[in-house]
Symmetry: C2
Subunit: 420 residues, 2 copies
């Protein structure tokens, strides 16, 4: 894409009411726009990042047998009363239509997917089943000071699994866990993200969160360096239940030397068991014709929150440093030549890279100083900066965003370098 | 995909409260599920159709210079008060959060995109600009008896264009019109869809709708067979304004012999001019530094409505007849052999077709009679039915959904036939 055509522009100043680094950088660089507190618009660059994250998550969900559907935002009040959550969920948006019917704006979809599956699950032969969607969610958040990390409207992937028994759920739960690690690895957060033990509610001893270590995180975790797992502060030192006493050590090895870290919750997985199949009477018949409640699991990742987390982890004073897998473009091709003269040279390089499958943002803007182009490139944060100037002659200057090393390479070498 | 893995099942009976053919067939065939009146879930088959439609629309929008973004559903009341629509739009969903702030659930996005562009449009050099999104919309509809044709929550593509003057808007408006015709042609509705003159409101003589002729349509249009255009009944015989008198003939050729038809509105385009730039003070400076209001256009297509329309136009007594471009799979491969014996033969054909890029739904279900498999295939409506049975031997029986002609072809011919 040519930057002269891109309608967004970078900004020198961060908006005053944005405290979070992710929002400051993403707004200044033109990835998002704040529509109101806790609600953002994704601009072309931000939309491209979202789509990259979406594709990675979709691939991993398909690889563990997920079937993709799309459930609605408007959800009938009756379903939420059935599970008791109409009155207990604080951040549920409720809406009344002109005929006085009430709906919830979906913050999650157990109340939709469970009755939906009553149409399709009858026998043990229909199980197991894995269903996911990538869809907008709504939560009436009180505090929204964290940019994309906590918003009133957000894009989420939610997967629901349906099983004949807990053993089968346990097996799939481990598979989902592995897929989640793969997702965090692929978006660049692998080294910073830990499986974290959290409260399991009334049904399980623990649920699991995926927490990304970050100084700006709202959560606190205690890391066991031996096992590379963590415990959420929420359950630390608190009685898990009357029988089991307090949690004060690593649940895997018993290690009590734990390191406190701040972190961002980037995903969670939960053994729901019969929490939602019971109220909706979701059952199956086994080989002998005996009815049983279906056993469920759920698995969530917020896409927009993941995008914010990536920026919190990967940035410096100058701007964002996108991991290649989610960068809106791989390379930023910057033309410092007097405009008309070298249009053909830059076009040739642009076209040859595009042909090789390298996504390029070409800064072809006129009347913009080299200094401004460089600082925009640092702010936007594409993995590779390519420069053509009077000094570079027939060659192209290449520099990685996260390094200071500058190399001059020939045009024919460039594509090879960027596609290896 | 293997049908034994697909979690949806076909139904013999249409739900009693669904009057519309599109909803009856789509629910029976397992494309959608009714969550409540006017709100549907897209199941795996329906989700695939949506994605095909989405990709066609996206390609055409990109081809006329559209930049894709994603705007939010939650929209501040203040923006809707500024345009006066908070109180005048009957079907606007309004919501109040716990701190008593009020929002609209977006039924359209002029109230978001116009103030957004104030951040990016300053000079004539920033124009023209074309911005689109594919996103969920909400309308508090009173009557919802038409399946996907009229819903309370629906997927829509909305494009907004921004110009320095009306002449430039007029030029782009014609380009957008052409892109719309291309979209309707590509999804299979080209021969049934007419440019239709409709009310232009206070700003233009006409707006334009795209109406698809269908016996089950809610709209009435008058078709000029000479010009292949139509006039919406809404403006027929009514005074357009005091000066111009009544509309009773083709606006293109003056022909008064018009044919009445029922139709479905599948798209609309509208010259907004300064209707939304004025309240949001969206201006630019010309070469001389003089300020002018930005001139706008908007262009909408409902994706879910388009899916419903396709089913209204393309079906028979037995089920849906998908056009190839939007079919969830191109071919339905049906195994009528005793199960275990011929697993390898069917797998070989399935794999070779997939390798050739032909998307296949393979009916590998056991304990399902040939009659049921055939009637399911007709109901689901994929373009090609491929059968392997004791009778077909080494060959494969091929039949198009919209024809009765059955041919036997060799395996190696099959891929060639389906990819030509």
């Amino acid at each position: 894409m040519f930057q002269s055509k891109l309608f967004t522009k970078t900004k020198r100043e961060a908006p005053k009411d944005e405290e979070a680094i992710n929002a400051q950088l993403l707004i200044r660089a033109g990835f998002i726009d704040k529509t109101m507190a806790g609600v953002y618009t994704f601009l072309p660059l931000g939309f491209r990042v979202l789509k990259k994250i979406e594709n990675i998550i979709r691939e991993e969900m398909l690889s563990i047998g997920g079937q993709e559907i799309l459930m609605p935002t408007l959800q009938p009040k009756a379903n939420w009363e059935k599970t008791g959550r109409w009155n207990t969920m604080d951040d549920l948006y409720k809406i009344k239509d002109t005929s006085d019917k009430k709906f919830a704006l979906g913050p999650t979809h157990e109340e939709i997917v469970s009755p939906l599956l009553k149409n399709f699950i009858f026998s043990y032969k229909d199980l197991p089943l894995y269903i996911f969607q990538i869809q907008n969610k709504f939560r009436d958040e009180k505090r929204v000071k964290s940019g994309l990390l906590r918003t009133r409207e957000f894009l989420m992937k939610d997967l629901y699994s349906f099983h004949a028994d807990e053993k089968d759920l346990d097996k799939y739960y481990e598979k989902a866990k592995a897929a989640y690690f793969e997702i965090f690895k692929r978006v660049g957060l692998g080294n910073f993200t830990l499986l974290t033990f959290a409260s399991g509610g009334t049904f399980s001893k623990y649920s699991h969160e995926f927490q990304t270590v970050s100084e700006t995180g709202e959560d606190k975790i205690y890391v066991c360096e031996k096992c590379k797992v963590a415990i959420n502060k929420e359950i630390m030192g608190e009685p898990l239940d009357a029988a089991r006493g307090k949690q004060n050590s690593c649940p895997e090895c018993g290690n009590k030397k734990l390191k406190e870290e701040k972190s961002i919750e980037v995903g969670n997985i939960f053994k729901l068991k019969t929490r939602y199949s019971a109220p909706f009477d979701l059952k199956y018949r086994d080989e002998k014709g005996i009815e049983h409640k279906v056993i469920m699991g759920c698995y969530g990742i917020g896409l927009s929150r993941l995008m914010g987390t990536i920026v919190e982890v990967f940035h410096d004073q100058k701007g964002i440093i996108w991991p290649e897998s989610v960068a809106p473009f791989k390379a930023h091709l910057i033309n410092l030549m007097p405009s008309a003269n070298h249009k053909s040279q830059i076009d040739k390089i642009y076209n040859s890279l595009q042909k090789s499958g390298v996504e390029v943002l070409c800064d072809d803007r006129e009347y913009v100083s080299p200094g401004e182009k460089f600082s925009d490139a640092d702010l936007i944060g594409l993995p590779y900066r390519l420069v053509i100037s009077e000094k570079t002659g027939e060659k192209i200057e290449i520099k990685k965003r996260d390094s200071n090393e500058i190399k001059l390479v020939a045009e024919k070498e460039l594509a090879r370098l960027l596609t290896k």
